[in-house]
């Protein structure tokens, strides 16, 4: 049985992110209660849940944009709310919400701002190297000198992901990283996260598409009614009883090889009269 009360690294808890008894309410309306979980290092953990289930709130708590009313969050055993902003930035990277900037900075300059916590006043050669590496990883070097404001939504999203990669955090939190990406780019990004990023960082992502999650993720957490829960060890995350609890509608599972695709039963074509 794992320790449910401490996040102490010395007690043998090797979690990258450790959350204990988190409670959060927006003006009296409880969004999250008794949330406790550990995220293992160098894994690709996916959070799945419906709209309004509190995923984004949980995310904003994890990156420190919101403060929980109760409970604690630790990053590699260190209390999130006792870290300085600079220390936190070196440990935790996240994608800010999508918006349109005013000035037409080049893609390279946008990605370079990811180095703010490392560079100090003026970026140096190693910062520019980190930018090039991030652009190459995502395959967007051809965009380097283009104005960010003239890119498509999907390209802008890739640039912001490159920016957080250039930041080189130990834990990467991605809220809907594929929302503007096309089908192929979404899978390419997920494969990149799984195959190369998880070799040296821990990635946690919110995904709306459970099939994308099941295909690429290694660990899964589900959110429903303000609770976070995990599939029982040894059971597939796509078992229908679990998914019906998360989504509140009957689910059909189509298995293939060692994977599966799920479809909400109520709305599939076969259910139509």
């Amino acid at each position: 049985m794992k320790d449910r009360h401490g996040c102490d690294a010395s007690a043998g808890n090797e979690a990258a992110l450790c959350v204990r008894n988190l409670r959060f309410a927006y003006g009296g309306v409880e969004v999250l209660r008794h949330v406790s979980f550990d995220i293992k290092p160098q894994r690709f953990t996916v959070l799945v849940g419906r709209n309004g289930s509190g995923k984004s709130t949980l995310f904003r708590l994890l990156v420190g944009l919101l403060k929980p009313q109760e409970g604690r969050i630790a990053v590699f055993g260190r209390d999130l709310h006792r870290l300085s902003l600079r220390e936190r930035t070196r440990l935790l990277g996240f994608l800010p919400q999508h918006h349109h900037p005013v000035f037409p900075f080049s893609v390279e300059d946008v990605v370079l701002t990811g180095r703010a916590a490392h560079a100090g006043l003026v970026p140096k050669a190693q910062d520019r190297a980190a930018v090039r590496e991030a652009l190459e990883q995502l395959g967007i070097e051809p965009l380097a000198s283009k104005p960010y404001t003239e890119l498509s939504g999907g390209e802008q999203q890739l640039v912001l992901i490159a920016r957080v990669l250039a930041q080189k955090p130990k834990v990467l939190l991605l809220d809907e990283p594929t929302s503007h990406l096309d089908f192929v780019n979404a899978h390419r990004l997920m494969a990149l996260v799984r195959d190369s990023l998880c070799a040296h960082m821990t990635v946690v992502a919110i995904l709306h598409d459970p099939n994308l999650a099941f295909q690429h993720g290694t660990d899964f957490f589900f959110l429903a009614d303000g609770h976070v829960f995990q599939p029982d060890s040894g059971r597939d995350p796509w078992n229908s009883a679990l998914l019906e609890r998360v989504y509140g509608v009957p689910m059909e599972t189509i298995s293939f090889g060692n994977g599966a695709v799920v479809v909400p039963g109520d709305f599939s074509k076969s259910a139509r009269p």
């Binding site: 902003l85 800010p96 349109h100 005013v102 703010a116």
Partner: protein, 334 residues
């Protein structure tokens, strides 16, 4: 056009303007040849001409301090405008629009009227207060929208202009003349003492903005974007506003309110070099300085009686601001 050509133009064009301005003056004044001969005699020990004392007085005591002051005032206003635009992510703001200039003018006028306050210190404090008010009043809920910031800036600017009028009304007549003269935006009575008082302050502000120029790129992308990469946006804004206000308030205290330089020059530089403040900030200082020196050359050479330079800069800048507003409506998604 290749980027290096544009950079060469922006960074190269100011120097000849500044040098050639030494030879510009009203038609009945000394000829460029006389000024050149005087310089040769000073530097190479050539025999002095008959009217050497007159030439010396004109070149050394009148033209040089004026050119230096114009250059620093233009540079300080332009760099400060570029900083404000980056900090507030708003292409429509400048020291004038945000009330910084009127705040500084009020502060300087109070100091001139009472006679025992330091002019530059008082200008800086009231300019800081004006920018703080504009920012605080422009807040709608949690965010400061570009339009609400411009509106609150105009209101704050109006209040300080009204207060300035009250100071003028109450001031003793002998001091009133000094105050009125100076608020019109004048360079014609520049002398070495004024240069030595104000240029170090504008220089300090300029150096501060120069060091923070890349951090402005980080901030210009957005508050949450800055926070995500480890920059506390509110603290960073204050850090950048201090040198911007110092430079612009010293410029106002030295030369009065000179409108539009702080708005127009950052836009010109951005059109030529792009939005990266790493090149934009030094370019703004140089280009803004040369711009004001050039405008001042026209105001010195064209008419026998001198028009205050603020009138010229506003005549150039006003139509440009309208052009920007139209483009803003059409193209910029804010």
């Amino acid at each position: 056009m290749f980027p290096w050509i544009k950079r060469a133009v922006v960074f190269g064009f100011p120097w000849p303007i500044v040098v050639l301005s030494v030879f510009v003056g009203p038609q009945d004044s000394i000829a460029p040849k006389e000024a050149l001969e005087w310089m040769a005699s000073m530097m190479m020990g050539a025999p002095a001409a008959e009217n050497a004392d007159l030439v010396r007085a004109i070149v050394w005591d009148i033209r040089l301090p004026r050119i230096l002051l114009a250059f620093c005032v233009g540079g300080a206003l332009a760099a400060s405008g570029a900083t404000l635009q980056a900090v507030f992510r708003n292409p429509l703001v400048c020291p004038y629009i945000l009330g910084l200039s009127s705040g500084a003018a009020f502060g300087a006028a109070v100091a001139l009227a009472v006679g025992f306050l330091p002019v530059y210190g008082s200008a800086f404090l009231f300019a800081m207060a004006a920018v703080g008010c504009s920012y605080a009043l422009g807040r709608v809920g949690k965010a400061v929208t570009p339009v609400s910031l411009v509106l609150s800036g105009i209101i704050v600017s109006g209040i300080f202009t009204a207060l300035l009028t009250i100071v003028q009304f109450l001031a003793d007549p002998f001091r009133l003349q000094t105050i009125v003269h100076w608020t019109m935006g004048n360079l014609h009575n520049a002398e070495w003492k004024r240069v030595l008082d104000s240029v170090p302050l504008m220089g300090c502000g300029g150096v501060g903005m120069f060091f923070l120029r890349w951090r402005m790129n980080v901030l210009a992308l957005g508050d949450q974007e800055a926070y995500a990469v480890g920059v506390d946006p509110e603290r960073e804004k204050i850090t950048m506003l201090i040198p911007a206000t110092l430079a612009a308030s010293a410029a106002v205290a030295a030369a009065g309110i000179i409108g539009m330089v702080g708005l127009v020059v950052p836009h010109m530089v951005r059109m030529m070099l792009g939005p990266d403040n790493r090149v934009g900030m030094p370019a703004c200082f140089l280009f803004g300085g040369a711009f004001l020196v050039l405008v001042d050359d026209f105001s010195r050479a064209l008419t026998a009686f001198e028009l205050p330079i603020g009138i010229f800069t506003t005549l150039v800048g006003g139509p440009f601001f309208i052009f920007l507003l139209r483009r803003f409506r059409l193209g910029w998604a804010v």
